[in-house]
């Protein structure tokens, strides 16, 4: 045994010395001296985006729309122009130089002048109300302006088109009133005052009809148009901050980023209560479309389309999804400059996994 032990020890000593000598330090890894290559993460959005600017202008670093003469700026305006209100119609070059407010406009805009309007409106209201309630003494006094007005419109209409800018105030008065229906009104109240009869009642009805006709002629939009001195040919209210530069007429492809979408999803998800235990959710998808105003509030009602799932579960889920959306209004954190991309929203709900796409 001794001999074999010695033999073994010697053997080990030999092997170890050999290992220590020849198995020394393993060769170091060869690391090629390569220069680091910079890698930029470029969102595809960058490539598909069109920045608003001027189509004719030369290229510049930052696309910019034509700077306007108007000194004040309108917040979040999207359309180029000299207007104070952001209107979508593009600006048309004027034939004549105009002072903006009453510029070469169709008749209706001339009516827009402030002074005449209240009077007319008042008089209309009065004429409508009074015959119904009580007789004529007051009424008699009212028609005066109308009579004055009547003759005017015919002669004035033509000049209005031709020389709009000259004297808007004077012209404006007549236009509003000339409705022919108004005439009988003035006479009728006088009769009714004398002999209140059933006939009168009938008359009243007729009058009402007449007045309602009046009302239908009376167009709120027109009035609004009259009231606001904006010129549709002036375009929107956006003004370039720098020299105009090449770009599209509208910024497009400016979609919500993943983060913003996630944030929106989170807001809805938070208010979406789960419906554990409802059967028939498999494969159900609820497609909810709605429109938002710039403040993130909903316009109208969300429309829900469903596919898959059982009928009962669908009904439940439609209610649930509606509630979730209405509850999470107004949506926070939607970038105002991308309003175009989130004005109309389509959100897909998947109830089986409680996820929102």
């Amino acid at each position: 045994m001794k001999t074999s032990l010695v033999t073994s020890a010697v053997l080990h000593a030999l092997v170890l010395t050999w290992a220590l000598v020849s198995l020394g330090s393993p060769a170091d890894f060869e690391v090629a001296d390569v220069e680091a290559m910079p890698v930029d993460m470029v969102p595809i959005e960058e490539l598909t985006k069109l920045q608003q600017g001027d189509k004719e202008a030369p290229k510049a670093e930052i696309p910019s729309v034509t700077p306007t003469k108007r000194p004040d700026t309108v917040e979040n305006a999207e359309n180029v122009g000299e207007n104070k209100v952001d209107i979508k119609t593009p600006p048309k070059p004027d034939a004549k130089p105009s002072n903006n407010e009453s510029a070469a406009a169709p008749e209706k805009t001339e009516k827009a002048l402030p002074t005449p309007d209240p009077v007319k409106e008042d008089s209309k209201e009065i004429t409508e109300e009074k015959p119904a309630s009580e007789p004529a003494t007051e009424v008699a006094s009212l028609p005066e302006p109308k009579q004055e007005v009547k003759p005017d419109p015919k002669p004035e209409e033509q000049p209005a088109e031709e020389k709009p800018a000259e004297n808007p105030d004077a012209e404006a008065l007549p236009d509003k009133v000339p409705t022919p229906v108004a005439k009988p009104k003035v006479e009728q109240p006088a009769q009714t005052a004398k002999t209140p009869d059933r006939k009168n009642e009938e008359n009243k009805k007729e009058k009402k009809k007449a007045s309602s006709q009046n009302e239908s002629d009376f167009n709120a939009d027109e009035v609004a148009a009259l009231l606001n001195k904006t010129d549709p040919t002036n375009g929107g209210a956006k003004s370039g901050k720098t020299e105009k530069a090449f770009g599209a007429s509208k910024t497009t492809g400016n979609t919500l980023s993943q983060n913003e979408m996630d944030a929106l999803r989170g807001q809805i998800q938070k208010n979406w209560s789960s419906f554990a235990g409802i059967e028939g959710l498999d494969g159900m998808i609820l497609k909810v479309s709605f429109e938002l105003d710039p403040q993130g509030n909903i316009v109208g009602q969300p429309e829900v389309e469903t596919t898959g799932g059982s009928e009962a579960a669908r009904r439940t889920m439609i209610g649930s999804v509606r509630r979730a959306i209405l509850k999470s209004l107004p949506f926070q954190g939607l970038p105002a400059d991308k309003y175009d991309s989130w004005r109309e929203m389509v959100v897909n709900f998947d109830p089986s996994s409680m996820s929102i796409q």
């Binding site: 045994m1 001999t3 074999s4 032990l5 033999t7 073994s8 020890a9 053997l11 080990h12 170890l16 290992a19 220590l20 198995l23 020394g24 330090s25 393993p26």
Partner: protein, 240 residues
């Protein structure tokens, strides 16, 4: 709390420096495993020599035994020497035979039993000698990897403590500690693998040799039993 810091990232990663860098416990484990390896190989050398010798003796004895030589004569030559294997079995059986007949055997059945016992004892003593130290081979083979693993775990533990102390996760700092810890497992495997192989081989060899001796013992027992019967019949015939 003791803060363990790495002195410096060692660029020297030879086996010797790995060993010297290792902690106390890991060093102890490595030395123990190297010792185990030396012991394993000592046994391997010893057994190889011994089994070879035993086989040669068996061959030689069988040749002599079946050569037709008188058993008495064989016994006389062998009883003077130090014998092992079949020789020892033969001598023990013959001694018992001699003792019984010299004093005048009374019962043939008792004699047969005594001879068998004597041969069994010798046989077991011989096989015990053959299998001596095979147990330690088995132990090294099964426990070696675990001991090595223990060294590795301790080494990696200390090296992680050192990393925490040095507050650097640079691979150049981390690697040597882990390499030195892994060396313990490597040595453990280095000792265990030959031990397992040697154990399997030698226990099989020992089994073969033992069964060969058992075969001889049975044969010899049969021969002796025939002899006893013949010897017992002779006095009866003589008496008739």
């Amino acid at each position: 709390m003791e803060q363990v810091g790495l002195a410096a990232a060692t660029t020297d990663v030879t086996l010797w420096s790995l060993f010297m860098e290792a902690g106390f416990v890991v060093k102890l484990v490595m030395l123990g495993l190297i010792g185990a390896s030396v012991w394993t190989w000592a046994i391997v050398v010893d057994k190889t020599l011994k089994y070879g010798k035993v086989r040669r003796q068996l061959d030689a004895f069988e040749q002599v035994f079946w050569s037709g030589q008188s058993l008495e004569e064989l016994y006389r030559t062998l009883s003077d020497r130090q014998t092992s294997g079949m020789g020892a079995i033969f001598v023990s059986a013959m001694r018992e035979w001699k003792k019984s007949f010299e004093r005048g055997a009374r019962s043939p059945i008792g004699l047969q039993m005594r001879i068998d016992r004597a041969m069994d004892v010798t046989l077991s003593r011989e096989s015990e000698a053959l299998e001596a130290r095979l147990g330690s081979l088995a132990t090294i083979g099964s426990a070696g990897p675990f001991v090595g693993l223990f060294g590795t775990v301790v080494g990696i533990m200390t090296s992680f403590q050192a990393i925490a102390g040095s507050k650097s996760t640079n691979l150049a700092v981390v690697a040597p500690g882990i390499a030195e810890a892994l060396l313990a497992t490597a040595i453990g495997l280095l000792a265990a693998i030959p031990a397992v192989i040697a154990y399997n081989k030698f226990s099989a060899d020992a089994g073969k040799i033992t069964s060969r001796m058992e075969g001889f013992a049975d044969e010899f027992s049969a021969i002796l039993s025939r002899q006893i019967d013949e010897k017992l019949q002779q006095p009866r015939q003589a008496a008739q």
